[in-house]
Each structure stands twice: as structure tokens, then as C-alpha cells.
């Protein structure tokens, strides 16, 4: 077994449930390398919701809460407030985070609580067989949009920034080094951090939306669509709307972090 896998995986949970060619494995790989670089495995708690995304933490040999659909951020909030010195990383998906979990996502960002959220966005509900999600493009054909999706998509990064997140980065599974770098920045950052990763689902989104079941085709698609912020500034609006802007989208240290605010309250009330 690869040394990273040997050191960090929960062997009793294997084999992984991800389909062959799923991007989530790449994101998990990048995450574990980031954890390794930072040396934080003994101070790390992981939380997942429900969905393919949310299975990632299960395969990591640390303290893990595999919670309810959409509720990972609320559970993680309680966990973080009880143990503010531990790093808490949440794995979630487009349905889990901005569908059912949308309310908790908004408020966790608003609170700027020191959590790192890794959002594995494959534009579909994969675990249940390929239904439309809040990030599925319009006109896309899915299991619940057989006549084409009439419902416009939402961008999680935009919502996170609007609600008060203080570190937001977007990458794709075709950019594993970018993901690793962003995860390290996100975990190190004191505040609500979002690493929004587009991650290919060859089985559902690939077949229904992109017309290919091949992971390599989908990775090429991501590489072609991705554009850095610098290059994006030179693009016309209609061209930009077709692209995926990658890199650090937002970073701020101007907002108070929730655990610190509560700690300050405790200090002022002591004695």
C-alpha cells in the first residue's frame, strides 16, 4: 500500500465505495497529503453528511462523525465549539451542502466558525442514482430532469462569500496539487474556509449530462473549462459564464471568528 494510504486510511472500512474513475478519490488523496504536510492527524476530527462526498471521512483513520443528509455543518459546529483547538474538516457534496444543507451552510459561513469545508461538487445526486442537484446546469438531463433541467444552478462559492466565509478556493479534481495547496491554506486559516472542488462523477453526471462515462474525458473537460482568476478578468461575460474559475477566490482576516468571540466572552465572565 502507498505510504500515505498505509498511514491514514481506516483499513477496516475498505474497499472504498467510490466508483472507478470517481474524482472523490483524488480529492481525498490530495486532502491526506495536505494533512501529512501539516502533521495534524492527531488533532483532526472529520464530519460528513450523506452522499458519495460524505463517505470520504469514513475511510480516514481518525475521529469521524458520519451524520445526516445536510446536517454535517450543524454537527460540526457543536463539535468545534466543544473542542475549539482541534481541526474540524467537513466533507460534503452539492446536494448535501447547498440543497438540504443550504441553511446550515449559510449560517456557518455567516458565523465565520473555524471549520474547513471540502465541497465535492459533481453537479448531481450520485449516491441515489443521478438526480438533479442545485448545481446541475440548466437543460441537463438527469434521472429527475428527463425533459431537461428547467431549474437554474447555484454556485456554492458565490454563496459562501456572500454569507461571510473568509477563505474560499475553487479547484477541480484535474488539479490535485491546487486542491492540496488550498486544503493546507484552508485548514491553516482561522475562519470559515471552503475548498470547492469540482469532482467528476463518470457513472451519473458523466453519462447523463456530459455524454461520456470516461473519467479521462471528464478530467479533460475540467482542464479545458478551468481558468485562473487572472485570465478570467480578460474574458467577456458570456464566455466567462461557461468557464470554471479556479484558485483562491476570496480571503479575509477582517471578520471575527466564532470560537474566538465565545472564548473572549468566557474570559470576560470569569471570576
Amino acid at each position: 500500500m502507498h505510504p500515505i494510504a498505509e498511514k491514514y486510511l481506516r483499513k477496516s472500512a475498505l474497499p472504498m465505495i467510490f466508483c472507478p474513475g470517481c474524482g472523490h478519490g483524488t480529492v481525498l488523496n490530495a486532502f491526506l497529503r495536505a494533512v501529512d504536510d501539516l502533521g495534524i492527524i492527531d488533532d483532526l476530527s472529520l464530519v460528513g453528511g450523506i452522499g458519495c462526498s460524505s463517505w470520504a471521512p469514513v475511510f480516514v483513520n481518525t475521529d469521524v462523525l458520519h451524520t445526516l443528509h445536510g446536517r454535517a455543518l450543524a454537527v460540526a459546529t457543536g463539535l468545534k465549539l466543544a473542542q475549539p483547538r482541534r481541526h474540524v474538516v467537513v466533507f460534503t457534496g452539492d446536494g448535501d451542502c447547498i440543497g438540504i444543507g443550504g441553511n446550515h451552510f449559510m449560517h456557518a459561513a455567516r458565523r465565520n466558525i473555524d471549520l474547513t469545508v471540502i465541497l465535492l461538487d459533481n453537479n448531481i445526486y450520485g449516491m441515489t442514482g443521478g438526480q438533479v442537484s442545485p448545481s446541475t446546469p440548466m437543460q441537463a438531463t438527469t434521472q429527475t430532469s428527463p425533459h431537461g433541467n428547467p431549474d437554474p444552478p447555484m454556485d456554492a462559492s458565490t454563496v459562501a462569500i456572500a454569507c461571510g466565509a473568509t477563505y474560499v478556493a475553487r479547484w477541480t479534481s484535474a488539479h490535485p496539487l491546487g486542491i492540496k495547496k488550498a486544503v493546507k491554506q484552508a485548514i491553516t486559516h482561522k475562519g470559515f474556509s471552503l475548498v470547492h472542488t469540482l469532482s467528476q462523477c463518470p457513472t451519473q453526471a458523466g453519462r447523463y449530462i456530459h455524454g461520456t462515462p470516461r473519467a479521462d474525458d471528464l478530467l479533460e473537460y475540467y482542464k479545458a473549462k478551468a481558468v485562473t482568476r487572472k485570465k478570467a478578468r480578460k474574458l467577456a461575460e458570456d464566455e466567462l459564464s461557461e468557464r470554471i474559475v479556479i484558485g483562491t477566490l476570496h480571503q479575509s482576516d477582517q471578520r471575527p471568528e466564532l470560537c474566538e468571540s465565545i472564548a473572549a466572552m468566557h474570559t470576560s465572565l470569569k471570576g
Binding site: D43, T67, L68, L81
Partner: protein, 376 residues
């Protein structure tokens, strides 16, 4: 050195004092009539003892946050009423399956739906048992006075720790908002969180003893590498939903760990039962009118006994069956359509008559009304 305190407070405040006395250091809740005072008082008092109060964005977030905080090592609690209790059901089920100790206070009000926000009811008694999907068992305690709000809340935390289960306090608007004397003892019997005895590398989070109970309650960050999952699981926490044998085994243990301790959990007050021909059985605020009615009946020479349930679930079957065995009539006054009366029907024999004295609308039974039912 703490001394006994005698104060006059409302039931909701007594619950708060019980929560703090039991060592709760995390509360997450959402405003809702008639429970909001609990959140307000927690927001004031918890930080003063270095505890954390969070008003979450909704009740689903509240039950979720208290579960997270529990695994982070804190005793945790939330408070709500009917509509919020409904929202919390999925989370309660998660706490059941993951065996997460926590306390949920439901200050019952008229339902269903928005119902009667400011009037009392006892309509959630069955929801406390069956509100979440799937088969499971929980513990639900029912205070009828300010003193019991304090004592049963402390007890709820202790039971949650021992049985690794969410415990519901079924209060109601009348009990919650009535102001009366509370004796806060100098010392309170608190069951501290017990760490697992075995070494972390051999620890199986869901390996139970012969009575179905687990080895302590671990906390994240102690080297256990816990996998806590809402899917039915093996003893090591890994998923077993696809495995009928393992799944059936876990479900049975989760249910039996409560039902097989029903006798130990009995918490029932009885009065005047020795020669009673008629028994009035009540719980919550209605028990107060029921006791008055019983005393009035006795003063009039009627052989009436009184039973007050302080635990509703698991229902104290054997105790009640024995307590009523010599009575020929059992009257169950409730502020709902008649729920616990059907539990009683299970426990009575052929010679006994069970009568529901159900009262809907939000007015509590008067002692006279119950007396009229007794004399009927």
C-alpha cells in the same frame, strides 16, 4: 461550600437550574413558545460557568449541534415545543443509533402544526416514543411541578449517560410557566461522563455488555479513531446496513437496552392505593388536579387511589399492573385525545374498566371535573 437554596421560579427556569446542576455545558436551541425562557436563561447562565450557548438557525441545527458537542466531550441539551420537536426527530433517531447521550426538553403546547402556541397540552406523548422513523426505544420523563422540573432534568442527564440514549423531558406550558417553590439542594447526585475502561487501540465503540450497555462514553481526540455512523453498524462502527444479521442484532440490542431496564427506570408516585376501588392515573400538570380530586373523593368517603407517572417511556408496565390489580375502575385524565389510556388498556384484566377523561382545547382539568368523573 454550597448551601440549600429555596427560591420561587417557573418550571422552565427549574429545568435550566437542573441542567446546569447536572453538568451540562452546551446548549443549542431556537426560540419557540412556551420554551423560549429556557434558551434565554441558558444564554445568560451557561457562559458564566464557561459553558457554550448557541442560538442555532433552526431546531434541526440545534439537535445536530448538541450531538456534535457531546462527541466533543460536553454534556449537552436543547429545549423546544411541538413544532421544533417534530423537526428534531431525525436528529433524535441519529442520537439513538449512534448512542449519543443528550437531553431534549419539550415544553408541550397545543398541536397539531402551529396549533395553540400559548396553551398547554399533552399531545406529544406518543411522538416522544415514535416520532422518528424506524424501530427504537427512548426514555421520556414527565415533571408535574417546578421541583420535578429540576429533579427530573438532573435525572435525565444521568440516565442519558448510563444508557447512552437521548432522554426527553415532557414538560408542558402549565408546568413550564407556573411559578412555585423550588428547593435547590446543596448537593446533587450527578453521573459524570465515564471514559471507556479499555485501551484505545482495542476499543470497539459498539461492543456491549450482557445488559446491552456500552463501555463508557468516549470523546473525540482521545486516540480512539471513532467512526460514528447513523447507518446500522458493526461493533467497530463500520456500516452494516447491508447485513441483515448484524443489523437485526443491533436493533434488538438498542431496544432491549431500554426495555430490559424498565423496572430499574420506574419512577411513579402512588397514594391511597391500599384499598382503592377506583384509581386515577395521571402525569404532568394534570396530575396536580388529579391528586386534588383524589383527596376530595377520599374526604367524601370514596375509595380512590392516585398514580402519578414521572416516567412515561419505557412505560412502567409491571409496576402499574401490580399497582392497579385490586381496582375495578381506572380513570386516565389527559390533555390530549386519549393516549396513555391505551397503554393502560394493555395492562388491565377483564374485571377492570378503563375510562379516558380526555380534555382538549388547552384548559387543564379542574379537580372538580375529575371528581365528577370519579363519581360517575
Amino acid at each position: 461550600m454550597k448551601t440549600e437554596e429555596v427560591i420561587i421560579v417557573q418550571g422552565n427556569e427549574a429545568c435550566v437550574r437542573g441542567t446546569l446542576a447536572a453538568g451540562c455545558r452546551f446548549f443549542a436551541g431556537y426560540p419557540i413558545t412556551p420554551a423560549s425562557e429556557i434558551a434565554e436563561l441558558m444564554s445568560l447562565r451557561l457562559p458564566k460557568v464557561q459553558g457554550t450557548f448557541m442560538q442555532m438557525e433552526d431546531e434541526i441545527a440545534s439537535i445536530s449541534a448538541i450531538i456534535g458537542a457531546t462527541w466533543g466531550g460536553l454534556k449537552s441539551c436543547t429545549a423546544t415545543s411541538g413544532p421544533g420537536f417534530s423537526l428534531m426527530q431525525e436528529g433524535i433517531g441519529y442520537a439513538v443509533v449512534t448512542e449519543t447521550p443528550c437531553v431534549i426538553i419539550n415544553v408541550m403546547r397545543g398541536g397539531p402544526s402551529t396549533g395553540q402556541p400559548t396553551l398547554s397540552a399533552q399531545q406529544d406523548v406518543m411522538q416522544a416514543k415514535h416520532g422518528s422513523h424506524g424501530d427504537y426505544e427512548i426514555i421520556a420523563l414527565c415533571p408535574s411541578s417546578v421541583q420535578e422540573c429540576f429533579e427530573l432534568t438532573v435525572k435525565a442527564f444521568n440516565l442519558a449517560e448510563k444508557f447512552r440514549v437521548p432522554v426527553t423531558i415532557l414538560s408542558d406550558e402549565i408546568v413550564g410557566h407556573t411559578r412555585e417553590k423550588l428547593i435547590v439542594p446543596a448537593e446533587v447526585d450527578v453521573r459524570e461522563r465515564q471514559h471507556p475502561k479499555g485501551p484505545p487501540d482495542q476499543y470497539l465503540p459498539y461492543a456491549a455488555d450482557s445488559s446491552g450497555l456500552l463501555d463508557g462514553m468516549p470523546t473525540f481526540g482521545q486516540g480512539y479513531n471513532l467512526l460514528i455512523d447513523g447507518q446500522l453498524h458493526y461493533e467497530d462502527g463500520n456500516r452494516a446496513g447491508h447485513d441483515p444479521i448484524a443489523s437485526g442484532k443491533l436493533m434488538k440490542r438498542l431496544c432491549r437496552k431500554i426495555t430490559r431496564h424498565a423496572e430499574e427506570l420506574v419512577d411513579v408516585d402512588c397514594a391511597y392505593l391500599d384499598d382503592a376501588e377506583t384509581v386515577v392515573l395521571a402525569y404532568g400538570s394534570v396530575a396536580r388536579s388529579a391528586l386534588s380530586a383524589t383527596k376530595m373523593a377520599r374526604a367524601a368517603g370514596l375509595k380512590v387511589g392516585f398514580i402519578k407517572l414521572k416516567i412515561i417511556w419505557p412505560f412502567p408496565d409491571e409496576f402499574i399492573k401490580d399497582a392497579i390489580k385490586n381496582a375495578h375502575t381506572i380513570i386516565v385524565p389527559e390533555m390530549n385525545i386519549g393516549r396513555i389510556v391505551h397503554e393502560m388498556e394493555r395492562l388491565t384484566h377483564d374485571g377492570q374498566q378503563i375510562r379516558s377523561a380526555s380534555k382538549l382545547g388547552g384548559n387543564i382539568h379542574t379537580p372538580q371535573e375529575i371528581l365528577a368523573e370519579i363519581k360517575n
